[in-house]
Point group: C2
Chain length 218, copies 2
Amino acid sequence: MFSRAEENYLKAIYHLEQQIQGEVSTNAIAERMDTKPSSVTDMVQKLAEKEVLSYKKYKGTLLTPNGRKIAANVIRKHRLWEVFLVEKLNFQWDEVHEIAEQLEHIQSDELVSRLDRFLGNPDFDPHGDPIPDKHGNVKRTEKKLLSECDKNQRGVCVGVKETSAEFLQYLDKRKISIGTKIKVLGKEFFDGSMIIQVGGDQFFVSQKIAENLYVQTN
Amino acid sequence: MFSRAEENYLKAIYHLEQQIQGEVSTNAIAERMDTKPSSVTDMVQKLAEKEVLSYKKYKGTLLTPNGRKIAANVIRKHRLWEVFLVEKLNFQWDEVHEIAEQLEHIQSDELVSRLDRFLGNPDFDPHGDPIPDKHGNVKRTEKKLLSECDKNQRGVCVGVKETSAEFLQYLDKRKISIGTKIKVLGKEFFDGSMIIQVGGDQFFVSQKIAENLYVQTN
DNA sequence: TTTTATTTTTAGCCTTGTCTAAATATAAGG
DNA sequence: CCTTATATTTAGACAAGGCTAAAAATAAAA
């Protein structure tokens, strides 16, 4: 069993590994966890003992397959709870992180599996991030900003970057939400604006909008 | 803010106060929490400092109104989550305690209030225990066993004592669940069996059944 | 290649919540 | 009322996780 603190370290290292693509430094972990490097050293040594990560003094750490699986499971729970909070309790997308941060540590495989079913086995959380499956595998389909899409490209809305009430309301009005299919009909290089198709409608979006909407292309 | 451990002590003392009806002894707390009396002394002194309970050496403790409110709030969360687990995730009545024991410590008033609404503002948990309101007030309507009811008395099913699958299935078959209204039509003193009315049906229940079903009378 | 700057680790201390063993109150029995 | 039994508290220790300050490695610059 892993303590709350240990789970949080594993999760942080998991995320940093993906960002940095390689060994994760002590300082990087300390910064992300908002603790001191000395505390990180201690914990990382303990986790190396438990064989969930490999650690060489002064060289950084990498999760072992087992450590990666544990981290992915915490993230799975975090994202499933986020879906619950938004879909069932009608929280806004940007209000759920802190609460999910607590809920992700509840220990019960049965609970997770039932929650997953209750939510309809979602693939993405309300921010558009993929939910790892029970084995820790993630559908790794790069999400990108709508503004990075080319003309005629199709994608599925999987999340937002900015989460202001105004922006969410704008999306509501345009009937854009998680899972909405979007096709880029045209792109104006001068101001970065686009014409997109959503369902039967097609309309204009400014660069500001396009830069804050994540889509998953295939 | 109160730590998980502190919340658990407050909850335990709250329950003991109700059972014992008076000052709660150090040993009683230790037994209920499965810790040593010396640990209890330490914690109780700390909680007295925080003015959530009053404590006189060698004399036992009593919650202050503030302490009682905090305890009731933890219990409120526990019972709301139990309702969620049973009603929404289809857990059995007897499978939910451990998980609720974890969920009760999640900190977010907004979450609790939304959960409450999502569940339809329930008054009782799946075991028939009353759910305190947000101010810590409990509808104190003594629940009693069906077997303790007199002839012609009416009551509402609020829970069970035994939670075996067989018993729950029996209740299912007889369409008895939380909220079901029951009227005692007759009582046989020789073997403790009863004839009761449930909805349109009336049928016979053995003493064993009547001794494991809680009803709330008014 | 030295010297300086940065990163990382070590050493020692703190808090929380627990424990054991010993000391002290209170309660019970003769 | 005195003695034994039980309940409770104190004292000292420990593990988890964190911090500070100082030491040691590594990296960067001269």
